[in-house]
């Protein structure tokens, strides 16, 4: 009797295992998959950059567009071309048009602050990229500017210690921007521990290589023994590099930027001593993840309050390797 029971149990167990194996071979549907595609399809993402035509914004836009195309979302760009007025107008009209998400790249911390608040009150999710505003919206994705400023200043301090004049210059972009105010704080943090280093000039290049070239030429003429320059954006700092080259002096130039191929080439040629970079392609991915997160969670606009700081990438002669930088020209292919 007992033997029969054991046999029956074994038989039952064997058939159950067989059934389970059969079910596995047939595949199981993921209950969340259909909702994911359904939630995201047909949504509209609007991107308001400071300007298109620069490595950063072209990079973010191309990554966001890829996701929008893949998931059936509408992606549009309103390019104010360096004009805060035009950008404010673009956001005002977007508030009326009601896209689902606005991704905004602020020219400074003040200009769009009230508009972004209004946009979230109107139910539009606002994601700020790299240059933040005074208004903290749903998400900030971007560089940790204070950390970058500290790292840049440390790199210059290492080169401008004992045996040099200890004189450095800071080349800001737009001092009222979210990036500059952060980087400047970082530079101040690092310099506070090094009283032997003297900041002889704190100038602004307005993100323009020509302007940077003009002001740095003047600074070098005034301080012929200048040891180092902390630059706030690689594209603009090429102008400072040209001024250094013209002066023929061995001035150390440390910069920061999006880690585009130009940065790697410039470090290789010795134009930049170091670049503390934020990786634009990864930031694009972070933007995509946050776009889908705000849409999927179903939270009302302005509730999430998340921050994603991009990790730092140090580009120097020591870290250079093929594939370290991304290529903006390859995006067009």
């Amino acid at each position: 009797m007992a033997l029969r029971q054991i046999a029956a149990t074994i038989g039952l167990a064997a058939s159950l295992t067989g059934l389970a194996a059969y079910a596995l071979a047939a595949g199981i549907d993921d209950p969340r998959r259909a909702d994911y595609f359904k939630d995201l399809a047909g949504k509209t993402i609007a991107f308001v950059p400071v300007t298109m035509g620069i490595d950063l914004t072209e990079g973010w836009a191309s990554v966001m567009k890829q996701q929008a195309d893949r998931l059936g979302m509408k992606f549009e760009i309103r390019d104010p071309h360096f004009s805060a007025d035009a950008g404010a107008q673009a956001i005002t009209s977007l508030i009326a048009e009601k896209p689902d998400v606005i991704v905004v790249h602020n020219p400074d911390i003040q200009s769009y602050a009230k508009l972004l608040k209004r946009a979230e009150e109107a139910g539009i999710h606002v994601i700020q990229i790299n240059m933040r505003s005074n208004y903290n919206s749903d998400v900030y994705v971007g560089a940790d500017w204070i950390g970058i400023g500290e790292a840049e200043a440390k790199a210059v301090i290492d080169k401008c210690g004992a045996g040099t004049s200890g004189k450095i210059a800071v080349l800001q972009g737009q001092p009222t921007s979210g990036s500059d105010s952060g980087m400047m704080k970082g530079v101040e943090n690092a310099l506070s521990k090094h009283p032997e280093i003297k900041t002889v000039a704190n100038v602004a290049g307005e993100w323009d290589a020509t302007k940077a070239h003009a002001v740095i030429s003047t600074v070098i003429q005034q301080n012929p023994d200048l040891c180092g320059i902390v630059g706030f954006w690689d594209v603009m700092d090429l102008g400072a590099a040209a001024a250094i080259k013209e002066s023929g002096k061995p001035i150390v130039l440390v910069t920061s930027g999006g880690g585009e191929q130009m940065a790697c080439d410039s470090v290789e040629k010795g134009v930049f001593y170091k670049e503390i970079a934020y990786q634009v392609m990864d930031q694009g991915r972070d933007l995509n993840d946050m776009i889908s997160t705000v849409l999927e969670t179903g939270l009302p606009a302005g509730k999430l309050k998340a921050v994603i700081y991009s990790p730092q990438l140090v580009i120097s002669k020591e870290t250079l390797r093929p594939g370290l930088c991304w290529s903006a020209s390859a995006l067009k292919k």
């Binding site: 300007t51 035509g53 071309h81 360096f82 004009s83 800001q172 001092p175 009222t176 002889v200 000039a201 704190n202 100038v203 602004a204 307005e206 323009d208 290589a209 020509t210 302007k211 940077a212 070239h213 002001v215 003047t218 600074v219 005034q222 594209v235 090429l238 102008g239 040209a242």
Partner: protein, 119 residues
């Protein structure tokens, strides 16, 4: 008259072309936003300080050269003195405002200049 105007535009364009080439070779890039940049205010400042009336009909080339030097020294001087960027902008705008107010007082619009058109 027409040929003079065409010549004026041609010369201005050629000078701008030359200036563009010089800046492009200096920094091996070109700022595409230069046309809408606040540089126009520096240009107006140079012109007005050079004694050219904004309502037209007055001024000379030599004065503009002096105005250019003056503004060049002002901008460089502010960089050398390490004056804060925002304060620099305030100083520039105050000088521009004063220059425009003085210009409209010294060179008021009259029937003749009104026909020359506005800037």
């Amino acid at each position: 008259m027409r040929s003079v105007i065409v010549l004026q535009y041609t010369i201005a364009a050629s000078i701008a072309y030359l200036a563009g080439m010089i800046t492009a070779t200096a920094v091996s890039s070109m700022n595409t936003a230069v046309a809408i940049s606040p540089m126009i205010y520096d240009v107006i400042l140079v012109v007005v300080l050079g004694g050219i009336s904004l309502s037209g009909g007055r001024g000379g080339i030599r004065n503009v050269l002096v105005g250019t030097l003056l503004i060049g020294i002002l901008l460089n001087g502010m960089t050398i003195m390490n004056i804060e960027y925002t304060l620099q902008n305030v100083i520039r705008s105050l000088i521009l405002l004063a220059a425009i107010v003085l210009d409209s007082l010294i060179n008021p619009r009259d029937e003749q200049t009104d026909q020359q058109g506005d800037i």
